[in-house]
Symmetry: C2
Subunit: 803 residues, 2 copies
Amino acid sequence: QPSRLDWDRWVMMGLIGFSVGFLGFLLHQIIEIISEYKWEKAEDFIRDGDIAVAYIWVLGISLLLVIVGSVLVVYFRPSAGGSGMPELIGFLNGTVVRHIFNVKTFAVKFLSCACAVASGLPVGPEGPMIHMGGLIGAGLSQFRSGTLGFALPFFQRFRNSEDRRNFIQAGAGAGVASAFGAPVGGLLFAMEEVSSFWNMKLTWQTFFCCMIATFTTDLFNSAFTSFQYKGSFGLFRAEKYILFQVRNEIPVNILAFVPTVVLGVLGGLLGGLFTFCNLKIVRGRRALLAKLSDDWKRKVVRVSELCIIITLTVTASVFLPAAFPCSPFTCYSSHRYPSPATVLTGVANNTKLYPPMQTLTVTASVFLPAAFRCSPFTCYSSHNDVIRSPECLSPENHTIHTENDVSLYTCPPGVVTRFDNNSLTTNKTFNQVATLMFVTGEEAIHHLFSRETHHEFSYGPLFAVLAIYFFLACWTAGSAISSGLVVPMVLIGALYGRIVGLSMVSMFGVMDKTVNEYWAWMDPGAFALIGAASFFGGVSRLTMSLTVIMMEMTNDVQFLLPIMVSIMVAKWVGDFVTHPLYHALLELKCIPFLDAEPVIIHEGDKPVNLELHMARDVMAAPPCVISTRESVANLAHLLLDTPHGGFPVVHSSREGQDKTFYGMITRIELSVILFHPELFETRENPSEEDPEVTLLDYQQTTIHKLYNTDEIEELLTKFCDDPDYEQQFVNLQPYVNQSALSVRDNFSLHRTYIIFRTLGLRHLTVVDDTNKVVGIITRKDLMGFHLEESLAAILQQQLEQNN
Amino acid sequence: QPSRLDWDRWVMMGLIGFSVGFLGFLLHQIIEIISEYKWEKAEDFIRDGDIAVAYIWVLGISLLLVIVGSVLVVYFRPSAGGSGMPELIGFLNGTVVRHIFNVKTFAVKFLSCACAVASGLPVGPEGPMIHMGGLIGAGLSQFRSGTLGFALPFFQRFRNSEDRRNFIQAGAGAGVASAFGAPVGGLLFAMEEVSSFWNMKLTWQTFFCCMIATFTTDLFNSAFTSFQYKGSFGLFRAEKYILFQVRNEIPVNILAFVPTVVLGVLGGLLGGLFTFCNLKIVRGRRALLAKLSDDWKRKVVRVSELCIIITLTVTASVFLPAAFPCSPFTCYSSHRYPSPATVLTGVANNTKLYPPMQTLTVTASVFLPAAFRCSPFTCYSSHNDVIRSPECLSPENHTIHTENDVSLYTCPPGVVTRFDNNSLTTNKTFNQVATLMFVTGEEAIHHLFSRETHHEFSYGPLFAVLAIYFFLACWTAGSAISSGLVVPMVLIGALYGRIVGLSMVSMFGVMDKTVNEYWAWMDPGAFALIGAASFFGGVSRLTMSLTVIMMEMTNDVQFLLPIMVSIMVAKWVGDFVTHPLYHALLELKCIPFLDAEPVIIHEGDKPVNLELHMARDVMAAPPCVISTRESVANLAHLLLDTPHGGFPVVHSSREGQDKTFYGMITRIELSVILFHPELFETRENPSEEDPEVTLLDYQQTTIHKLYNTDEIEELLTKFCDDPDYEQQFVNLQPYVNQSALSVRDNFSLHRTYIIFRTLGLRHLTVVDDTNKVVGIITRKDLMGFHLEESLAAILQQQLEQNN
């Protein structure tokens, strides 16, 4: 039997995927256009020797961007700050977080994120992309907006919290898929980290959504560069759509697992340190802000803090390279260029492709194209000893390359010469630190991941950049601008990974694929990748999804296993040190989060076995119950006096019998009923027992949540005050959800937790052995701290009884 | 707070992964050693002109293997036949399937599968690998065996059905991971297809298990070929560990989606046809066998059937190529070979690497190594018009290659000449059909997936092989040998995919990457891949996991999107035609399967809304209830007279009150209690209300399931017959599971189904509004046909009342 054809759900998933993908394209292009313009101008200034001008230029633009980005957040929508990940996770766990799915949040988030990343702050656009993906999922699926005040008559059947939740999850997954070009990773990320309740049936639809998002982003990026039509629309080139494509594949060796484990341990420790420092900074900032009396002062401080960070960042980017000498530059590697024709065209027409070439002397530009002619087996460049022999020699020597798009900074461009035997020589030099700092974070990661460039970076620059970047990234995360953590995490990990790789090169010498395939795994670029995975894992404690994202991001299936091992080790080590960052932030932001398994509560040293406790130990008792026929005044009192979202309804089937549990009714349903006075009846006029026709239909009781709260309050107060309403009754029977689950009071606490969590409940009624309501369990009652308190009280009581 | 450290679970997952991986290695090597020997000898005979000898040789070996493989299954363990997938899926859904996790099944399955694949039947080893993976998970995690009669004192805490189920799922995933070299695919496969209940917490552990499996298989395969140590232990070369590695990456173009959708539709239709034919054949076979009176006749028929199939297969493989002419052979493509040095060594020392070269004439072997010297941009081979100009010409011409490991069959080997300008020429020829039929299925897939070999296969051979293979594969699946369907599915799909690709080449001409990158997607090899995905999807209706498996199997991330689109279209089209094959087989094998969503029941034309029905409409009533104090005789009667697995226990908390639902007790627990006469008490000696110390501990009541059924029956009969036992009572209170869920009788049927399925229940007690037991729901009551019957009766009743 063919399964239900949810064509409308597929259409909606496609729409969400497309929108998220297009958004990803826009964000990517905006960031690219700004930062490319900024850095190119700056390079021009530096090449002319005007470091001061370059500094002022970069600082000016960056400051402007940061101020715009942070003012938007601080003054218009504080909830748009940060990555939005903890809020999203909390929401999908069942907590209502204000403003997270709101048009204004979306706009502020988009602009602020674009500014933050383009400014050169040590942040990435990935976290906000995930949040914005969720936002699109939430907004698009409902076809209405509270803020904008419209509701279109499409897809009304999705206007319920379950479908909305599913679309938000799909949107968040699409955000990952678009940001990393990783559709499978996006799906797994939505499953592992974002969602708390996952419906297997939706997996394929979510995957479709992620695919469409990746596809849309790639499709537009395939043709546009900086919003100009360049290239072929619809042609997906790997180098364009794979974020950090690895070009030279290296076979993995079992020996590679020794340094991988070391990197994993480092990742766990450094990840823990990062989380710890970041939380300290966030707490310190909060304490400082709390001391300030005025609101405007707080706002100014928050904006100024970011100005200080960007000033430090720009200063480091521009001046730090000057502290390091120029390194010699060797032949370009032409291994992977598709054909001489393409490359020639590329050099001739598309100077964007090779920015450093623009300013080469005429001599160089004449000889450079020739450099691409040489074929991989006959043209070798030598870099045995970088300091002593900067020439390209004969084919007998190693092929230790430097990439061709490194930053020259103040180093002289030099010339390239080609000899008859197809060998090349150059006296070009470049600046290692500038290659890492004088570009966007993504480009720096590209450089660090590059393979067969054993000597491109040496210890000094790597350590210097690592220290500065770690400090700045740690400070920035959590400040008042919309920003993601992925690029900083990958960059930091790649830096120490490359250091470990380089130390192996120092110990064992250069092992190249063409020389010794067995030892070719000793490549600093490969270890940069593993290091990145380990640090990402150490901070986020993501596992499966991270492994797949790293693989899809680099398109290097061969390193799947080392990546997984490093992530696993990093997670184990990290779990001994700190919480995962997102969960620590959840706690810090006071968002209650219910894990899939109950937390382990310790009584003294011993863990408490929740199987030995019962549902009655944690339930809230006595509960507020209502009868199937209740007076209007009572209902109004109940709604005014309690904040509960749902109430158990009791009913006695026969006259004189005790009232037993009948079902649940939600606050919204009650409010809607009270808004319809035609439903009120006096006791003298009892309706038939089981009315066939209900006066309110299902749509009315569920959809219209948009009542004005003031209006409701006014009405309720009227009902409370007017004694007439004590004699008016409502028959709630048709509106009660009779399929509300209940558990016995002696139900095991562990199993209660599992049922509550697995079925995604909000209220669970507790009944005694004759089905009388004795209590109610809500998510608050199952939170770790609450469990701890309740059980401690009970254990205390038992102890007293025994004495 | 760090999560619970389940080190023992991790160790167990690692062990399972390792064992499955090692098993995969063994199976792979055994198959390789046999089939390589068989085909090489056969090629030698053919090259000597002795086609008849070759035929007898191949037929002899294949027949022997098939007879061994099928006799093992037919005479020793019929349940080891087929792929084992439906049984595994059914078991994990909650049905007890006899013999599927048994040492004997394992041994028979392994040997039979090795024989079947090595014999050359149109089958693959993947399905059995999945079943064997599940078997290893089931066996290893328990550390005991009923058949072998031992139980080791390790990992006792895993001896419960939940953990066992989880390990079986992980093992099945590891089977996929090992068979396809696809760890992520294995995980997703376990999630999507194999398991019915998935615990998110275990995802990472399952992934670990899959990873270890892939790793182990690759590790051993990296060093061994045909069980001989060859190569480097621990060095993972992509060409070795990626099953169908794609070498020449082609950028995808948006236009490629037009033929992709066509392929998807074809896949859905042909997949439906395959399923339909296969089911017809299975039913026909069953009807035929049922007509035979004697058991031995049936067995002989089953073995002979396979002998006929293999005879047909061998005849087609050996004689069909003779019907097609020799095709000209062009230069080898040297694009991806690491270096001349490596290749030279390879040619000189490791003749296994290039089997066809072994028997080249001396001339050729002198010139051949030289062929690898040429570099990609200067050595071109021309194949513009395959028939007219079989020479390699100047660099201006296209580089349309033929692979270098195609089968020569009876074609003359010819010579290779190299000119001064590095261009090559050859007058070698090869046989297209022999290249596809005269090898193992995996090699044929390799050939079909090869890129930039536009003219390697022409229409005639492709259609001929497709027709024969489709028919043979359809017949073989379901016969009495252990066999998987993956290789046939991929091969059939690749064949018609290549036909579609070739038709585009015929229409638009050859578009090569070096000539026109934008149109390079028109590659028959690329469409063979998409076609394979579509047919696989059309038969199995797998979605997400299949996409990832196809990607990991070919290591071609670029084609992820077309693969997904084709699978999606194939699934949609296929769902209109037939059930997915595995689910159809489940039905055919009478294994009850409970889907995640209730089936849609139609009353007339209208679908029935299950929300409008109640739990009481389908429950089994009246249920067999027992009291907390029950007489031994009653219990024995109950166990003897009913086959139920669990019984609701009732209890009255106060004297005189009606008995209300108290909990559940399982059949096994009751049996165990009845085996302990020391628990029996007479009414005169009532124990305290709530005994602190139970006489049987938890381990005893749950672990020992291994009672002899005869013994139990004897004991129960004694209890029934002896009137003494009517006065002997047991206090069941300590053994009752008080946390058994119950629902009200007016609970919505849809929600009942969801709860039952989500929580993976086996029994759900139905109570009335005062908590009295009124019925019980088991999985049988929620099966589609049962729902249909119950609801039809109720609707009928309503109709009568209305009249």
